[in-house]
């Protein structure tokens, strides 16, 4: 069944070409993109089931592993693929119902670019090669540049130029990291790197780890590298912001988990990660408290909650990784749902500014419920999935038991409380207080509301299905800390993959 592995990349790329060719036929374009993303979701679910019996490996073009590019789907990749394709499908359906006139955006470009973005995300998730991860990043980033500056309004150009320059800088840092890795080890295959990096000079290994963490840290928006995010995300169209917030930073987090577990099991940078996690949580949430616009507020909570995932990675234990993976899944769905609801509020009230909104609980009670549930979930009110994820992280920190870990326990509890405060403040201003001026109260299309509701239901489902899901993430974390399942399925004999190579033919 390994032929399924490349499909999450190939299908969207093919669909993007088709959608671009059909640029004059918006109806057909929509059909193409929805069909493609639905297929990707089906494939991802199949991979999720298949990956339970060990990682699935494809040597691309039948070139043997360390020379050719490998695609690997293990439990972690399969889980990320499934969540990301479910989210991208929901956001696509949401954006289709939005109508074309509101955003002044050339929709003919929107569909192909969106599909390319999903292809890039999938490529980053399933790649078993450091350079191919870079290529995946570039695919998704290039698509994100276009989506962020869609329409080319003054506001989007302003936000877009900062975003683009920061993202390019992080890509160049990543590329420098790749060059240094290649110079030190002579390979970029993750499985081979995991054995070779253990043999090189610890100082050089530290440099490589720093460079990679720096590059991924910018993409994941970790504290000192996070200031680009709250300024650039809110200016994009609502569905674009939602998918960026849900997925793009998580690709960075995924890359951090993968490199920390597979390439640097010694955990040289764990202390740095924990300190940075602490700062990310608190600085992010303090920024959110000061905001008066729902979209900007949500962008700051996004930064803040990246800190929780970095905490899980930095603990360096199996329990911590399991909790971090669960938290990533929870956060992708909840954060995307919140941004979609913010889009609904904007549609209904004509603004997302908390000073102008008001009284929505009375005039639009369903909207109020749709905001309240994911907001409470994000703040971590029991028994919702946010609470379970945070509980797992706290348990893992207490198990580590160092003074720094206890500081982080205090920090994450404080962050949760401040998240609750920020969101309740937003709730009071937008939903309970009377509006300063009457709102336009435009009708919200059912087609926009349904995908948002679907995502909220999924995030509530994560609570109901927390048992099996948590077991899955625990097994994923066990595979990650053991490392051998990944390495031995890519390189069965420890040197070569299953594909062909001149060396294998000549010598064996």
């Amino acid at each position: 069944m390994t032929w399924l592995v490349p499909l999450p990349v190939i299908l969207p790329l093919f669909g993007a070409g088709l959608a671009l060719a059909l640029y004059g036929r918006p109806k057909l374009q929509k059909t193409v993109s929805v069909t493609v993303l639905a297929l990707v979701l089906a494939v991802s679910v199949a991979l999720l089931v298949l990956a339970r019996s060990g990682p699935l490996v494809v040597d691309v073009g039948d070139w043997a592993a360390p020379v050719g590019i490998v695609l690997v789907v293990d439990r972690l990749s399969a889980l990320m693929l499934t969540v990301s394709s479910a989210v991208t499908l929901c956001v696509l359906l949401y954006s289709q119902a939005q109508g074309d006139d509101q955003e002044h955006a050339p929709v003919s470009i929107y569909h192909p670019t969106y599909l390319i973005l999903t292809a890039g995300v999938a490529d980053a998730f399933i790649s078993g090669d450091l350079f191919n991860i870079y290529v995946g990043f570039e695919i998704l980033l290039a698509a994100s540049y276009v989506l962020l500056t869609l329409g080319g309004t003054a506001e989007r150009i302003r936000a877009g130029s900062v975003y683009v320059v920061v993202a390019i800088t992080s890509s160049l840092l990543f590329l420098i990291g790749i060059a240094v890795t290649y110079a030190a080890t002579g390979t970029l295959n993750l499985a081979q790197l995991s054995t070779r990096l253990a043999e090189i000079d610890p100082g050089v290994r530290l440099v490589i780890a720093m460079l990679l963490m720096l590059a991924f840290g910018i993409k994941a928006a970790v504290f000192p590298l996070s200031f680009w995010l709250p300024d650039s995300y809110p200016t994009a169209p609502a569905p674009v912001t939602a998918v960026f917030a849900g997925l793009l930073t998580k690709v960075g987090v995924y890359a951090m988990i993968r490199t920390r577990t597979l390439l640097f099991p010694q955990g040289e940078l764990d202390t740095v990660l924990l300190v940075v996690a602490f700062a990310t949580m608190l600085v992010g949430i303090l920024g959110a408290v000061a905001q008066d616009d729902i979209k900007r507020l949500l962008s700051f909570t996004l930064v803040s909650h990246i800190g929780f995932m970095v905490l899980g990675i930095g603990l360096g234990t199996q329990l911590g990784w399991a909790a971090a993976i669960y938290y990533v899944v929870h956060h992708i769905t909840v954060q995307t749902a919140l941004f979609l609801v913010a889009g609904l509020i904007e549609r209904y009230g004509g603004t997302t500014s908390l000073t102008r909104l008001g009284g929505l609980a009375r005039t639009a009670p369903l909207l109020a419920i749709a905001f309240f549930l994911p907001a409470m979930n994000l703040a971590g009110i029991p028994p919702l999935s946010g609470f379970l994820g945070k509980l797992g992280l706290l348990e893992a920190s207490v198990q580590v038991g160092s003074p720094l870990a206890y500081t982080l326990v205090a920090g994450s509890v404080l962050t949760s409380l401040l998240t609750l405060y920020a969101l309740v403040k937003a709730w009071n201003k937008a939903f309970w207080q009377p509006a300063p001026a009457p709102l336009p109260a435009r009708r919200v299309p059912v087609g926009m509301a349904l995908p948002a509701v679907a995502l909220i239901v999924v995030s509530l489902g994560l609570t109901v299905a927390a048992g099996p899901l948590y077991r899955y993430t625990e097994q994923a974390a066990a595979d990650l800390s053991e490392r051998t399942p990944y390495i031995s399925s890519v390189l069965p004999d420890g040197h070569r993959g299953r594909g062909q190579s001149a060396w294998a033919e000549g010598h064996g």
Partner: protein, 165 residues
Amino acid sequence: MTDTAPNLTLVVVIAVLVAAGVYLLLERSLSRIVLGIVLLGNAVNLLLLVAGGAAGSAPIVGTSDQPMSDPLAQAMVLTAIVITLGLTAFVLALSYRSWQLHRHDEVQDDVEDRRIARLAARDAPSVAGSDVDSDDGVDLDDEARETHDETDEGRPAPVHGEGPR
């Protein structure tokens, strides 16, 4: 095994390119940033080439007794060149669009920066912290848009909305 010392000329060239690239990247106008990205991108390409080891005979095609060049590094450089080309074109378009809108291509201030600057100026706590609640009635977004400090030296700042749309 083999001699792994890198070529000194290449190392010096990389260092100069990176230094100039970082300097340009820290500038405020997008056209200079583009040049910085180009220089940095080429520096990284050379770095990849150095990482591939000493030059040798042509790889893959035919066989030879001499040691071959590393084809993988060249393949990676090729990919990186294509990506940098695409991104350079995009940033150039962005810079042109910015010039169309504002008659300059400076990276503009973060709204948050302006908000903090304004609060510091008033030396007072935020009352509502709103986008439009300031004393002078200037929208924060507009203020951020009109603040630029490098281009158009000596000339008055263009009034918002003056440029061609």
